[in-house]
């Protein structure tokens, strides 16, 4: 008999005062004892909802509306909460996506374990301490962690504690809901390894829910692909890799690539061989850039004799996207951002602690029209560099110049000039847009701020921007509120807003990390095309080496604030020299390798 047998199950969301929405539709599958199964899908596919239903955690407004979930022969779909509670010991456990917040901040880790032991009474009072030590040992944590509070632990440690807690139930089924998504690349890899080892040694049945097909193929034996509430494909990992049946699976797979390959391609983005690196004339490695060189680079190439904005009649059908209308009359020619020996040291708020060196003696030049990737794990200082360049923070030492603007000592009133030319695209499109304003308002604000356009001209410009980022029909999108847009559409609005001042430089801080795989390519392609048609230079900050390979020509790898490796993107990724770069590359899931080895 199968450990878990799901038959014709549906889950529906019934929000008060709104129409019910089906989240999971009529799914059926079996899980055998000791299986390691992946459940893959993009956001909104219903994969987490299914995971919650499997562990009896569906809460209003979600409700299992049909079908049954047999766990060890007993239907848990119709159980009351108190019946379910008893089932959890030796039954099913769940590790949540945001392990960061899964621990009670005011209870020690020991109390968390003891609470579970007390609730199920399966560990006698005498053995509790020893059992807790044993459990944290299983997730490779020292016993001292029991005295700590969650606020004192790192993200990876917290997620390990969550796994140990779930394990303390001695479950036969463990559901991992995106267990590593919130973690840093290298930590992700380590936590995943722990999960794999535990699954082998403890022999529980595991379901790994993830948006990352690559990772799931690497670690699991069997994969279920979910799309729009349906399981569209359910096959062995090796089979999916060799011959994906469903078009959706094929689409997901097509977005994987090895950044080390000679030619990297994903749908919607041009092929990247050594071509890119060759096209851009070999710029000297940034660390040796001398400030003297900069003026030579700044040639008045741009003659911005483009269409007068006011003149352009609204009714003129704008030519196919993107209408590269530059509004640069009377503005400076294109200039490079020159960063010379910049360091940033943060003093810790409480005394007695060491100051943190976030950026350590970094130098580079972002040439006009160039695209450079800034790569590193979190805490490597890449976002701090973005703050320094945009004048949000001041460097402790070193200089940053943009044309005649000295950014490291910039005055408040000069900031506006800087921000006319240097704009940011933020990581989280859900947080970067004020939910109370329409797209029109969001885009018109910077137009009024940074240009002299008013009234109809400003509105025309706003529509033009929407056209540029491919949000058509523009009139419709202009009237929408952020919550009426998908993640990818929101990120396009964020990009359009950055373009409103017609900047020379765009600093994109992880612009696609919050987006689904299928949307990423589109946004990346947009950024890339802006560079080609508008000549905007781009500083692309990311931890994702594949996307760095796709849209940048040059790369700098940061580790603990210092540049450990730099050069042409294709060269560096194909021929990494530094050990840290190699580790980053190895942390990327390789479905081709892992999936086949495992099966």
């Amino acid at each position: 008999m199968s450990l878990v047998s799901v038959q014709g199950m549906s889950v529906v969301y019934e929000p008060k005062g709104a129409l019910p929405v089906p989240a999971v539709r009529n799914v059926s599958f079996d899980l055998e004892q000791g299986d390691f199964v992946g459940l893959v899908g993009e956001s909104g596919s219903g994969k987490s909802t299914l995971g919650f239903a499997l562990t009896g955690l569906s809460k209003p407004p979600a409700r299992v509306s049909a079908g049954s979930i047999f766990f060890d022969g007993v239907d848990i779909a119709g159980m009351t909460p108190s019946q379910l509670r008893v089932q959890r010991h030796g039954g099913f456990a769940m590790v949540l996506q945001s392990g960061m917040n899964a621990l009670n901040p005011v209870r020690s880790i020991r109390d968390h374990f003891f609470d579970i032991f007390a609730a199920h009474g399966h560990v006698s009072k005498r053995d509790r301490e020893a059992r807790a030590v044993e459990l944290v040992g299983k997730v490779e944590l020292p016993a001292s962690v029991l005295d700590r509070f969650s606020g004192e632990l790192s993200g990876g440690m917290r997620q390990r504690v969550s796994i140990a807690l779930a394990l303390s139930l001695e479950p036969r089924l463990m559901v991992f809901d995106e267990p590593t998504t919130a973690l840093d690349v290298l930590v992700q890899h380590a936590v995943m390894d722990t999960i794999r080892e535990l699954q082998r040694s403890e022999k529980f049945t595991a379901v790994l829910i993830s948006h990352d097909l690559g990772m799931v193929l690497e670690v699991t034996e069997r994969v279920m692909v979910m799309h729009d509430g349906l399981i569209v494909e359910d096959a062995l990992a090796a089979e999916i890799l060799a011959a994906p049946q469903h078009p959706y699976t094929r689409m997901l797979l097509s977005h994987y690539g090895d950044p080390r390959a000679a030619v990297v391609e994903v749908p919607g983005l041009a092929a990247r061989g050594g071509r890119r690196a060759a096209v851009v004339e070999p710029v000297e490695t940034p660390s040796v850039v001398e400030p003297v060189e900069t003026p030579a680079v700044v040639e008045p190439v741009e003659t911005p004799a483009v269409v007068e904005p006011v003149e352009t009649p609204v009714e003129t059908p704008v030519e196919t996207h993107p209408p590269a209308v530059r509004k640069r009359e009377g503005r400076a020619a294109r200039e490079a951002i020159v960063v010379t020996n910049v360091s940033k040291i943060y003093q810790r708020p409480s005394r007695g602690e060491q100051p943190v060196c976030a950026v350590n003696n970094v130098s580079f030049t972002l040439e006009p029209g160039a695209s450079m990737a800034l790569v590193g794990a979190s805490g490597s200082g890449k976002s701090t560099i973005a703050k320094l360049i945009t004048g949000v923070e001041r460097p402790t030492s070193g200089s940053i110049t943009f044309g005649d603007l000295q950014i490291d000592t910039i005055k408040r009133r000069q900031l506006k000039r800087l921000h006319t030319e240097v704009q940011m695209v933020f990581q989280d499109p859900y947080a970067a847009l004020n939910p109370l304003h329409t797209v029109e308002y969001i885009l018109t604000r910077p137009i009024l701020n940074f240009s002299k356009l008013r009234g109809r001209a400003a509105r025309h410009r706003m529509l033009e921007l929407l056209e540029t980022v491919g949000l058509t029909p523009v009139e419709q999108f202009a009237a929408r509120l952020p919550h009426q847009l998908s993640g990818g559409q929101r990120q396009r609005v964020v990009i359009a807003r950055a373009l409103a001042s017609d900047p020379q430089v765009i600093i994109a801080d992880e612009p696609v990390s919050m987006l689904d795989v299928s949307l990423r390519a589109g946004v990346l392609a947009l950024l890339d095309s802006l560079r080609e048609t508008w000549g905007v230079s781009m500083l692309y900050i990311t931890h994702d080496l594949l996307s760095a390979r796709l849209v940048t020509d040059q790369i700098m790898v940061l580790n603990s604030g210092a540049v450990v490796e730099e050069g042409a993107t294709a060269d560096v990724l194909q021929n990494p020299q530094d050990e840290y770069t190699i580790r980053l590359l190895e942390a990327i899931p390789h479905p081709t390798v892992g999936g086949l080895v495992d099966s």
Binding site: Q87, A93, L96, P105, D115, I116, A119, F149, G151
Partner: protein, 326 residues
């Protein structure tokens, strides 16, 4: 430990600042109590210099340098010597405040703490049983009751329960026949007299605590650690109290500190309506009669009570939230 020590240091510093300001402010103000008294007399005709001298001598016009005055003042404050009251001459201010303070502390302080505990518990229950009658009744009732100004509630209670029904005394803290002493009959008498004012404060402040706790608790119920605790099969009561409520109470502690600080100073209206011999009533009398020594001492007491309440809440935070201890 370092946390507690730093909080004690902060308390001492602010206490000193409060005491010093209490010394400085009256001296920075134009005029003097003697001028005020003379101005009153002057309405009935000219005031002779000898009258003036007599008044100044009676009120005790300060002599010596400002520094000497300050040192003497600090010395007096340390020995609880705030001078003699004008209104209740020749009683000392210290003895007046000493008699009034216990009444206020016991009545208002105790009721404030009870309201906080009771309201918080009701709020927890309302959030935990969201949508049931346990939620609706306290929420709606609390909103309704706290919408009244409390002197209005006080008057209603006085009129119906005190005057019309005659169940409770309408004024004072104890029967006029009784003498304050630590005996069972007297304490019962005092308790009986305190029921109406206590009920007034309870009714009007309970709603705020219920609503505040309910809303923070609903937030924490949606937090991941609550879901995770449920996923681990913890007992529902453990989840509600130790996981959800334990975190939800933290933001409400700040409001509790403010309420506690307002106990001494904020009881003026209640004590006035019920003629309750507490600090509020005393302050009212002092202001009406321009009793400057009494006012100054009362202001100082009110300031100190706010500081102490904040200190207590800071320490509570340290105990309840490990994150503040770091």
């Amino acid at each position: 430990m370092r946390y507690t020590l730093s909080k004690i240091g902060l308390l001492l510093l602010t206490l000193w600042a409060a005491v010093t300001l209490n010394f400085l402010l009256p001296r920075l103000m134009p005029g003097s109590p003697a001028d005020a008294a003379i101005a009153k007399l002057a309405q009935n005709g000219p005031v002779s210099p000898s009258t003036r001298a007599a008044i100044e001598a009676q009120l005790g016009v300060p002599t010596g340098s400002a520094w000497n005055q300050y040192v003497e003042y600090l010395n007096n404050v340390v020995h609880f010597d705030f001078g003699v009251s004008y209104t209740f001459f020749p009683q000392s201010v210290a003895s007046l405040v000493g008699t009034a303070l216990p009444w206020t502390l016991v009545l208002v302080g105790f009721v404030t703490i009870v309201a906080f505990i009771f309201g918080t518990l009701l709020g927890v229950l309302a959030a935990w049983k969201r949508g049931s009658w346990l939620d609706t009744l306290p929420t709606v009732g609390g909103t309704f009751a706290s919408a009244f100004p409390y002197f209005w509630t006080a008057l209603l209670l006085l009129f119906f329960l005190g005057y019309v029904a005659g169940w409770f005394p309408t004024s004072g803290a104890y029967s006029s026949s009784a003498t304050p002493e630590l005996s069972v009959p007297f304490l019962l008498d005092a308790l009986y007299h305190s029921i109406l004012p206590a009920t007034t404060i309870l009714i009007t402040s309970l709603g705020g605590w219920i609503l505040g706790m309910r809303s923070t608790m609903i937030n924490t119920l949606g937090d991941d650690y609550v879901t995770f605790a449920e996923a681990n099969g913890l007992h529902p009561r453990t989840v509600a109290i130790r996981y959800a409520a334990r975190n939800a109470i933290l933001p409400n502690l700040t409001s509790f500190g403010l309420a506690l600080g307002g106990v001494v100073g904020g009881s003026l209206l209640v004590e006035r309506v019920f003629s309750y011999p507490g600090v509020g009533y005393l302050l009212y009398t002092a202001v009406v009669n321009q009793d400057f020594p009494l006012m100054q001492a009362l202001f100082l007491i009110i300031t100190i009570s706010v500081l102490l309440a904040n200190f207590i809440v800071d320490i509570l935070y340290g105990i309840l939230d490990p994150r503040t201890r770091r």
